[in-house]
C-alpha cells in the first residue's frame, strides 16, 4: 500500500527527519507560495528551486529515484492539460503547468516522507489547525490500513464466490452488499474503540503527551531557507 512506503521513509533518521514538524510545514508553505508566484519565464529561478528540492532529498537520505517516481503521480493529470495547452498554441503555459505541479508535489512528498504522520498532525495542531480535525485525521490514519486490508479480503472472497457470473446486476449488488458489510464492521469497530476508551476512564477530552520541541536549529532552518527562497524569487 502506498502509505506504508511513505511510513517507512518517515521513520528513517536524517537532519531533515529531526526537524520540528512546524518548521517543515512553514518552510513547505513558503516554498509552495514562492513556486506558485514564480513566472514561468523565470527558468533559472525554477531551476534553483528544483535544485534545492533535489539537495533536500539527498540530505534526507531518501531513495532519489523512488521519491521522483512517487511524485510522478501528478503527471498524468498535468501532462494531459499540458498537452492541451501546447496544442492550443501555448507551449510555455504547458511547460509551467507540468514542471511546477511536479515540483510542488515533490516538496509535499519531502515533508511527509521525513515526518511520521502523527508528528505532522501534532505540528499542524500546534500551528492552529482545530483539534477535532487533527484527532479525526489521527484515527483515520490509524485504521486506514486495518480497514483497507479488510476490504482487500472481501474483494478476494467475492471474486472466489463469483465464479463465471457474467451478469452485471448481481455482481453490482454483491459489491454493494460487501460495501455495506464493510460499513457495518467499521461502525462496530468504532463502537469497540469507544468502549475501550471508556474502560480506561476516558473523560470526554483527549489529553496529549505533548513532545514537540522547537529548537534553535529549527529556527535557523526556517529563517535561512525562507530567506533564501524569497530572495531568489525577488530577483
Amino acid at each position: 500500500m502506498h502509505h506504508v512506503l511513505l511510513d517507512r521513509w518517515s521513520q528513517r533518521a536524517s537532519a531533515l527527519h529531526a526537524r520540528d514538524p512546524r518548521a517543515k510545514i512553514i518552510v513547505l508553505l513558503v516554498f509552495l507560495i514562492v513556486l506558485a508566484t514564480t513566472p514561468v519565464q523565470a527558468v533559472v529561478m525554477v531551476g534553483i528551486q528544483a535544485a534545492l528540492l533535489a539537495a533536500a532529498v539527498l540530505l534526507a537520505g531518501l531513495p532519489f529515484a523512488g521519491v521522483l517516481a512517487r511524485a510522478a503521480v501528478v503527471l498524468p493529470f498535468s501532462l494531459t492539460f499540458g498537452l492541451i495547452s501546447w496544442l492550443a498554441g501555448e507551449p510555455l503555459r504547458a511547460l509551467a503547468l507540468v514542471e511546477k505541479s511536479y515540483l510542488s508535489t515533490l516538496a509535499v512528498l519531502l515533508v511527509v516522507g521525513t515526518t511520521p504522520l502523527p508528528r505532522l498532525l501534532s505540528g499542524l495542531e500546534a500551528l492552529g489547525v482545530p483539534r477535532l480535525l487533527v484527532l479525526v485525521a489521527q484515527f483515520l490514519y490509524r485504521y486506514l490500513f486495518v480497514i483497507s486490508e479488510q476490504a482487500q479480503h472481501m474483494r478476494v472472497a467475492a471474486a472466489c464466490r463469483q465464479g463465471s457470473s457474467r451478469h452485471r446486476r448481481p455482481r453490482f449488488h454483491a459489491a454493494a452488499g460487501a460495501l455495506a458489510m464493510l460499513f457495518a464492521r467499521s461502525y462496530n469497530r468504532a463502537e469497540g474503540v469507544h468502549r475501550a476508551m471508556l474502560a480506561r476512564a476516558f473523560t470526554g477530552r483527549f489529553s496529549t503527551l505533548g513532545s514537540l520541541r522547537f529548537g534553535a536549529v529549527d529556527g535557523l532552518f526556517v529563517v535561512a531557507t525562507s530567506l533564501f527562497l524569497v530572495l531568489v524569487r525577488l530577483q
Binding site: P116, R142, V146, R189, V193, A196, L198, A199, R200, T203
Partner: protein, 244 residues
C-alpha cells in the same frame, strides 16, 4: 477475604427487549482468579461490561466497595481494568507509548508522570522495545500484551480479560500465561480455552442464557458441562473416519 466485586440480583435487558442477564449473583475476592465459561451469547461479555459501567442494569454492582453509578464511574474504571477481545480496537493511539499512557492521563496524571507509568507497565509486559512503534507493526501477541500494559498502567486492583487467547499462537499463549501468573490483581477471565483457564484459575462460573447457573472449582464445572475441547475433537475424528 475481602470481596472486590459484589454483584447482587443483576438484571439487564437490551433495548430491543431481549433479557440478556437475569438474577445474577457473583462475588470476586481479592487475589482470586475466576474463569467465566458459557456458550456464545450466554451473557458473559454483557455481564463483564456491567462491572465498569459501560452497560447499566438493575440490581447492585459494587467494585472495591464502590457502587457502580454514573458519579463513581471514573473511580471504578481506575480500580477495574478491562482487556477486550479485539486488540486493534484497544490500541487506537498512533504509538504504543501514547496508547499505554492514555489511561494514566485520563486519571489526571501530568504528561511526565503518565509517561513514566506507561514505561513501567511496558517493562512489566516485556515490551519496552516497542515504545515508539505504531500498533499495526506489532504481532497479535504483542498487541494483546500492549493492551494489557495499557490497563496495568492505571494500577487497577482487578483485571478482567475477555477471550484473551483468541488469535494467539501457542507460544504467545504461553507468554501471556506467564505474564498473568505474575500479576497479583484479582482476575476474571472470560474464555473458551479451558486449559488456559485451568492454569490460572481455581474457580469458575458458568453462564447459560443470561443466568449464572454454576459456581465452583474449575475442573468440576468443566466436567459437569462437558466444556473441554478434547472430547469434541475425538468426536470429529470418529465421524470423519466413518465417512471415508
Amino acid at each position: 477475604m475481602t470481596a472486590v466485586i459484589q454483584v447482587r440480583d443483576l438484571h439487564f435487558r437490551y433495548e430491543d427487549g431481549t433479557q440478556a442477564l437475569e438474577a445474577v449473583n457473583f462475588t470476586l475476592n481479592a487475589g482470586e482468579t475466576v474463569a467465566v465459561f458459557g456458550a456464545n451469547g450466554s451473557g458473559k461479555t454483557t455481564f463483564v461490561l456491567q462491572l465498569n459501567g459501560i452497560l447499566c442494569g438493575e440490581g447492585s454492582v459494587s467494585v472495591c466497595g464502590l457502587p457502580v453509578k454514573k458519579e463513581t464511574l471514573a473511580a471504578v474504571r481506575s480500580k477495574i481494568g478491562m482487556v477486550f477481545q479485539d486488540a486493534d480496537e484497544q490500541l487506537f493511539m498512533p504509538t504504543v507509548l501514547e496508547d499505554v499512557a492514555f489511561g494514566p492521563l485520563n486519571q489526571g496524571l501530568a504528561p511526565e508522570q503518565a509517561t513514566t507509568r506507561a514505561k513501567l507497565a511496558l517493562e512489566q509486559a516485556g515490551l519496552s522495545h516497542t515504545l515508539n512503534k505504531a500498533p499495526y507493526h506489532l504481532s497479535a501477541g504483542e498487541k494483546r500484551r500492549v493492551a494489557l500494559a495499557g490497563v496495568l498502567a492505571m494500577q487497577p486492583e482487578i483485571l478482567v480479560l475477555d477471550e484473551p487467547t483468541t488469535f494467539l499462537d501457542p507460544p504467545a499463549q504461553r507468554n501471556l500465561l506467564d505474564l498473568l501468573r505474575d500479576l497479583r490483581q484479582a482476575k476474571l477471565i472470560v474464555t473458551h480455552n479451558t486449559r488456559f483457564a485451568a492454569a490460572l484459575a481455581n474457580r469458575a462460573v458458568f453462564f447459560e442464557k443470561g443466568k449464572l447457573v454454576a459456581d465452583g472449582p474449575v475442573e468440576e464445572i468443566v466436567q459437569r458441562y462437558d466444556w473441554a475441547y478434547s472430547p469434541l475433537a475425538a468426536d470429529f475424528r470418529y465421524s470423519a473416519q466413518r465417512r471415508f
